[in-house]
Symmetry: C2
């Protein structure tokens, strides 16, 4: 049995999902020879720490009762720097402009010789190369499947399963909110603004939906794929980006009459072109999936086009990608 001491930095929806998944899979992990012992959980107000391992059930209860697990006035960064452990599960909120706390957390983790598994896109869209170099210099591992498409396993699929293939391009729907809006506009014969209101009411879109509907979130994921799969060194400023705010119901209907649908597609090509824009996709094509689903289509030299679809969001779904990453790190070592 290998004991891994871990911290969960950020205890919002995804952090709590990670705690739930670790509880659900305790026996499975033990069978695989892994004992993941969470020694600290932090949220924006502070930390709960037990170097012998926290009771995650209790952490979830306290979070739900009090709104915070803060018992001690330590930040995530202080926990990473001051408490000895092996793995930082970095699930603080994404900030694609500055990288936010996540960037400092990841840097500190590598500098203090800890592995990092994350769902936090911000630091990866800004400083992908630097973070990977820092991980390597310190002999630590860095996994981020959950940053692109939640449960949809696009990064590990292309890097592991499709070995031997040269990847020519990856394109897909990487934002469930936009896909939901475009799907519902056609179903309801309704205007963009009307469906956006519905999506906000349902909690599918944020009150300020700019980040999703202007394609910024999609652009972040395109950047991560460019860097992770193609070995590029891109940032979000390298993406040629158009959102979905100008799409009308009439345009969707006219496309449908021609056997096509309009989707917000992010694409990275091996020549270095990164784009986010609404595109016509034939109905019946693997990319023409509806609702909040995410999908990625990988063009390869041998296998042709391989497409993978999955839930792009959801705390348990995203936590499942984090779990797969954790298993892949500690089973291969």
């Amino acid at each position: 049995m290998k004991t891994i001491k871990a911290s969960i930095i950020g205890f919002g929806s995804i952090g709590q999902g990670v705690a739930r998944v670790l509880l659900m899979k305790k026996d499975y992990l033990k069978k695989e020879g892994l004992d993941i012992k969470v020694i600290a959980v932090t949220d924006s107000k502070g930390a709960m720490i037990d170097e012998n391992g926290l009771d995650l059930e209790k952490c979830l209860e306290i979070k739900s009762e009090k709104g915070t697990i803060a018992e001690e006035k330590m930040t995530g960064l202080e926990v990473i720097r001051q408490i000895e452990h092996d793995l930082v599960i970095e699930v603080t909120p994404t900030d694609v402009i500055t990288g936010g706390a996540g960037l400092l957390n990841m840097q500190a983790a590598f500098e203090t010789k800890k592995d990092v598994v994350t769902s936090n896109k911000g630091p990866l869209t800004l400083k992908f190369k630097e973070l990977n170099e820092l991980a390597e210099q310190n002999g630590r591992l860095f996994r981020y499947e959950a940053t692109v498409g939640g449960a949809m396993p696009i990064i590990n699929l292309t890097k592991e399963v499709m070995a031997g293939n040269e990847i020519e391009s990856i394109k897909g729907i990487f934002n469930g909110t936009c896909n939901y809006i475009l799907t519902r506009m056609l179903e309801e014969k309704a205007a963009y603004s009307e469906i956006l209101t519905e999506a906000v009411d349902l909690g599918i879109a944020e009150t300020d939906p700019t980040y999703d509907v202007e394609g910024i979130d999609t652009a972040g994921k395109v950047v991560i794929l460019a860097n992770a799969v193609f070995g590029m060194n891109k940032t979000i400023n390298d993406v040629d980006r158009t959102g979905i705010t100008q799409i009308t119901y009439e345009a969707l209907e006219m496309s449908e009459r021609n056997g096509k649908t309009i989707k917000l597609i992010g694409e990275v090509r091996k020549n270095g072109e990164l784009t986010v824009s609404p595109r016509l996709i034939p109905i019946g094509h693997p990319l023409s999936v509806s609702g909040t689903l995410n999908v990625a289509s990988v063009q390869t030299d041998l296998a042709g086009e391989i497409t993978v679809t999955g839930k792009g969001a959801g705390s348990i779904e995203t936590a499942s990608s984090i779990l797969s990453d954790i298993i892949s790190i500690y089973k291969e070592n």
Copy 2:
């Protein structure tokens, strides 16, 4: 550099695809530290052998000029038994009734301490457990991604990338011929028999299409998934099977008016139920792909539903799965 001595047993469309892919990827493999040296190629008429490594370019030329690479009167089985090498690439034609030459070839390979990578479903639908046990007893590896869905990476996806998830069911379209017929019937408003004739003319269906249209091919793939992913011990007789021969254009059209499409779906559930039957799939659902594509949808406890789509046939596409398997065997050892 690790040198792997390999034989290609069967030199039809897939065997030639393997030769082409090994030629295309020679430099890539060298960079990965692998020198795959093909020391024998066999077809139904005989073998070509060079223990220092055959020139695959020349093998392909001779096959195309003479219709056979037979220089010596040795069968595949004799090559496997008598010539020292490490890896048997078993790509003889599939026979789901007896297992055909493939079954004997695989048994002989393991008994003489060789690894096996194959695209040949027959032996796996009949003797999956026995073959795996034989491989294990002899300390050899057995990989068969190409047996299900050609280039679509369903087996390695579920076994490697989705670690930590419990698989509840896998369902999908595993036969491109049936999918082509159902897609075209609706496009052309045509009867089953009419489109079948078209498919035979285009080489998409065999002159005797029973194996495809009665769902036997799909059933074979369902059996392999049951055994490989769920650890069951099933054969083709355990599958409750209905083909597509009774589907009318009118049924397809009525489904379409209700926003659905009819697809031949193979499914394995963790309770041991294996089925092949035509089913209604909502348009826009990831399983509703058109043409000759294959698709598999994996229901998991954490990640929800993950779907993967790819080309189910084609010599280079199938060979690409064989190549990925070869890389996975020799890189992990």
